[in-house]
Symmetry: D2
Amino acid sequence: MNTFTKEVMSVGEMASGAKLTVPVYSFKSKKATGPNVYIQANMHGAEVQGNAVIFQLLELLKNCSLNANITLVPYANPVACNHKNGEYTLGRFDPITGVNWNRMYHFDQSVIEPFVKQNIDAPQEDIKQKFEQLLLDEVDQKLDHNTWGLTTGQRIAYQLQRLAHQADIVLDLHTGPISSKHLYCPEYVKKSAEFFNIEHTIFIPNEFDGAMDEATFCPWWSLQQAFQSLGRNFIMGQGCFKKESFTVELGSQEQIDLEVAKQDAQSILTYLQYQDVIGGEEYQPEKITRYGCYLKDYKALYSPMGGMVDYLAEFGKPLSAGEPLARILRMDNYGDGEALHYVSLQQPVIPILHFASASVNQGTELYKVFCNYFEL
Amino acid sequence: MNTFTKEVMSVGEMASGAKLTVPVYSFKSKKATGPNVYIQANMHGAEVQGNAVIFQLLELLKNCSLNANITLVPYANPVACNHKNGEYTLGRFDPITGVNWNRMYHFDQSVIEPFVKQNIDAPQEDIKQKFEQLLLDEVDQKLDHNTWGLTTGQRIAYQLQRLAHQADIVLDLHTGPISSKHLYCPEYVKKSAEFFNIEHTIFIPNEFDGAMDEATFCPWWSLQQAFQSLGRNFIMGQGCFKKESFTVELGSQEQIDLEVAKQDAQSILTYLQYQDVIGGEEYQPEKITRYGCYLKDYKALYSPMGGMVDYLAEFGKPLSAGEPLARILRMDNYGDGEALHYVSLQQPVIPILHFASASVNQGTELYKVFCNYFEL
Amino acid sequence: MNTFTKEVMSVGEMASGAKLTVPVYSFKSKKATGPNVYIQANMHGAEVQGNAVIFQLLELLKNCSLNANITLVPYANPVACNHKNGEYTLGRFDPITGVNWNRMYHFDQSVIEPFVKQNIDAPQEDIKQKFEQLLLDEVDQKLDHNTWGLTTGQRIAYQLQRLAHQADIVLDLHTGPISSKHLYCPEYVKKSAEFFNIEHTIFIPNEFDGAMDEATFCPWWSLQQAFQSLGRNFIMGQGCFKKESFTVELGSQEQIDLEVAKQDAQSILTYLQYQDVIGGEEYQPEKITRYGCYLKDYKALYSPMGGMVDYLAEFGKPLSAGEPLARILRMDNYGDGEALHYVSLQQPVIPILHFASASVNQGTELYKVFCNYFEL
Amino acid sequence: MNTFTKEVMSVGEMASGAKLTVPVYSFKSKKATGPNVYIQANMHGAEVQGNAVIFQLLELLKNCSLNANITLVPYANPVACNHKNGEYTLGRFDPITGVNWNRMYHFDQSVIEPFVKQNIDAPQEDIKQKFEQLLLDEVDQKLDHNTWGLTTGQRIAYQLQRLAHQADIVLDLHTGPISSKHLYCPEYVKKSAEFFNIEHTIFIPNEFDGAMDEATFCPWWSLQQAFQSLGRNFIMGQGCFKKESFTVELGSQEQIDLEVAKQDAQSILTYLQYQDVIGGEEYQPEKITRYGCYLKDYKALYSPMGGMVDYLAEFGKPLSAGEPLARILRMDNYGDGEALHYVSLQQPVIPILHFASASVNQGTELYKVFCNYFEL
């Protein structure tokens, strides 16, 4: 049976001096032939199901054949996951500043060019090692040598990023509000999406907007492109350039379900087995219809009016143009106006998630949908 | 087809001067042989399904045979139903003061004794009329002649109460957090509970704690008891002393479902037909097993620890002593403590509702359950 | 130099498992001739200045002549003091339930009568000791033997109360929103109010509403009255029946000022010296005009309209009838209505505090004022 | 006496259907020789003093000699200014999404190049008129022809922007949290800063980050640069290219003071008189020492620890290197650690504002300060 170590990482302090800590679980492989893995959960406070998935992963990994190191971090953001407003968890953004907790990771594009020039002829293994160190140094610099300090979210994000940069494969476990399962996958490793038991995948380009997945793959993708522009080619996601990172959306927020978590853990192990992180053939991808779309085609629909929404469209199934997504109740109009307003789109879409509450303002995000989707 | 009138009632002003209004729908009966009815919804901001039920009631009432006047008020509390914090509606209490919106209705017990002394020999019809007027005067006095002003919630509550005091039957439509349907029914009209298509009823005593249902029946129940103590007997809930009020809990908050709302509207019409508010025999109560318990046996279970809850117990079904209600995930204990803690009770209960989120503090209300329940 | 001990008391757990603790500082007196003292601060989250006062008390007490034990508890409620919403601290009530943190202490009036009957002839010292034990047992029972659990706030309150019940003098340090200093003092120890350097005192009756000060003195006051009704007289606040408790309102919330805190610490030491808790004559009450009023005359004025308030009335100074307390800006009315509305009262008052923000809803508490005030 | 017209602009709807409106006041000049002006206030909910300034401006403008049209919009964002959480106004960001209300204005840089190419030889007046129309068309397009809808904040921002784009001078009235007065001024019109009675000015470059001031001047500054790069020179801020916009920070949030507002109105009129918007010589800038710094030197200092802050540094006065800005109380460390931590900087600064509450998390923004400041 594999054993793991457990450490406790300090990530912040509250007004009373209360220290906020995060548990870090690590499996070390003796073989160390496969790519190393980093998995975290609950960066957004209400998105708790990933903690249950990490529970099930820990249970299952004890009995796997480990070819690589795996680090698992539940409760990644204790400020967010402990912040209640009424019965719910106000956890998508810092309650003081409004900044999205998953937009505070660091990547400074300007480090690429000098690095490439300096290492244009270096062996691949050296490049990998040096660039990894450069990314770690960048984060350490931010954490340890900053006259003006860091925001609450940066301090958390950079500490997590320090762990992530030491891995080759990074999985950031999130959920939607009320949502089907879906996956964010970088365009350069489309094939990997087929090894998760998740029906819907969004393929994302090389654009850094502060999220964990981007903070992990954008530096390497950019590095590859920079070398390429100078005539030296690597293939991203292969060999020592295997750097893959995914945001895994596990369903709806505010819920823990340990049975479903076990299925999700198995889905992740299927991908990890494909990547040789674990040995054997126990985990085979489910035969399901997988749909994909590009990030630019993953669209949010904002409510055309204030009101109370009866969400009608089923998740994950193609919806024809003109079919209603929702109807909005407006009792203030009953008797002298339109008490029910139907919302539809003039193109076929696949609804993926909807807003967490029936009550919406004009302009609240109602649905997110796949447009121009395709089968994988 | 019956027609209704629609009025708009001003209930408050926000900092920008924005006026908050509530629509009031009224059907007037030409016959006026039955008891008058008042129905409101959405006093708590997140409990929106009652608005959809009022929508369906309005639709159905157009074609009923009306024996009494019916007043319907959706969106009863616009301050609450418009108050978002993150994606959810922070609507159980005034966001400034924390006071529960449904604890601000008025009843001053001290008016009973002098009234009874003065009217000890009056005819029943006079008593009814005068006492109703007294209750209305009390509320008007509060609304119109108060040097020190009223709280935001009192101003709303008293205006709604002014409408409710003019009716004989009052239905206050609420929901639980994540919940089965259930009914709060005064002990003196137990029979009425059997005409709603609701499986679970809590029978409540003559104790005023500020809620709409209590504010409606406690004055009359207290009046009856005061007359009784002086040797004059009425039977509450009968004849001109028909005064019934219920809190109807329609299921879970933050949701609108117009199909389910139609069933709930039919359930309410079944009760109203039984009370002769509408004629005919169209609506017959469903043959379902109905359970009841007394308010003192409707118990809240508070979480013994902080953590993330996998709610296990099914709503509405008797649960044996010792069977788990929930298991609480504590990843911080994984590896060196108890990562899963099971919660159970040492007596049989019927789970009715649970907390709206998986994430709980030590001391958060986990479940509400029937103890010492019985079949109706 | 006196030394103190420091203990850490666990009062709760958050969803991530984070433990919430409270530091408890204790000075033990060798003489132990005076009444023991308990002082706490920051039960309401935004009311932080009491922590600074405890800092200064600890500094000063090191060099006092101690005649009694003193226990000091800053950060009494870490759930509340760490709860931010935007830049401010949402700390007056439990963010999940809305219940005021200072309304959750325990006192069950029904224990008095049997105790008095059983101890009608007991020596005073025995009565004191046994009744103190009874109160502690009551709280222990709640904390340790409750099938249904405790709310988050009860668990905190009862643990603090366990400390308070072991003292003879209890000071609960609070602040108003934007406020002058004032004191809540039980009616039976009016004289004590003159030993605080605080100009305004509210005298409160023997009515338990869940607050710390009441939870401390109401049991003893009720006990005295019960003995009295059976013909045995004690004088509350004297001899072994010295039980005094105060809520000390230190000014405005959301502020720390260590210089002002030092003055407040000296004010408290003046009272403690008067009570023989500390020896010497170093601390003499300031010669200031002290005003008092009864709790029933400490009135809140609610805003007659929504708008933005220019607070005009100075704190602590008598304001003639008809003089404006505030003017309310209503730009939405500019040009076609009343853009400035003046608020005044038809009786002389002393303004004590006002709302923390210019922006108010109709019905928001604008001011709290003394009516029918008198000089002490 | 000048008269104004008042219109009411609909900017949104809440869940209850409540319509949110904004009053728009307009003075039309018969002469129309000066640059037109647009002034708005209260885009951030807690920043209310600008409404009082607009009140005083309306009062004073009635008796000015008007050379241009002036439009004034108080309560620009009713969603934000009506959103209470506890006693304070949660108004810096959309409570549902966390997005800063003042980062949602529109400017699409890509429109510049084609416009310049097409109008390289056009007369200046034509360029002005056409480009203004282009900016208006862009906003109209967003408002009226968007399949996917707009966010709540975009709908408000774009409607305000439609008014702003019709003016030559734009003033966006804000406040800091607890703050001295200061001014954001584009670098190309430094001279203008000397006509406000405000001691501290931040000079900002041509970078669009979504704020109202940038949304107004960046398009024109970019236009000028694009023409320049093709060899055609205009001078920004002069002639028909007079386009100036400022964010005027009026002091602290959550406060209304009509007397101070009058001074601020006079300060604004001083600038408007300098710009020939109003005639006469009544308003002359105060002789005060004015300090400036560049945006890159306007630095935020984040708290190195959680704790409770005694803010020490005075606003607006140069503070030597090493002098304390604040001391942080950490009672949990009292007795066995550092209970008071002093915060200072290793360079001279001018403190401009500090956080609104004493209670901070590790990483909360403590102060904003001028570095490398200079006298104007």
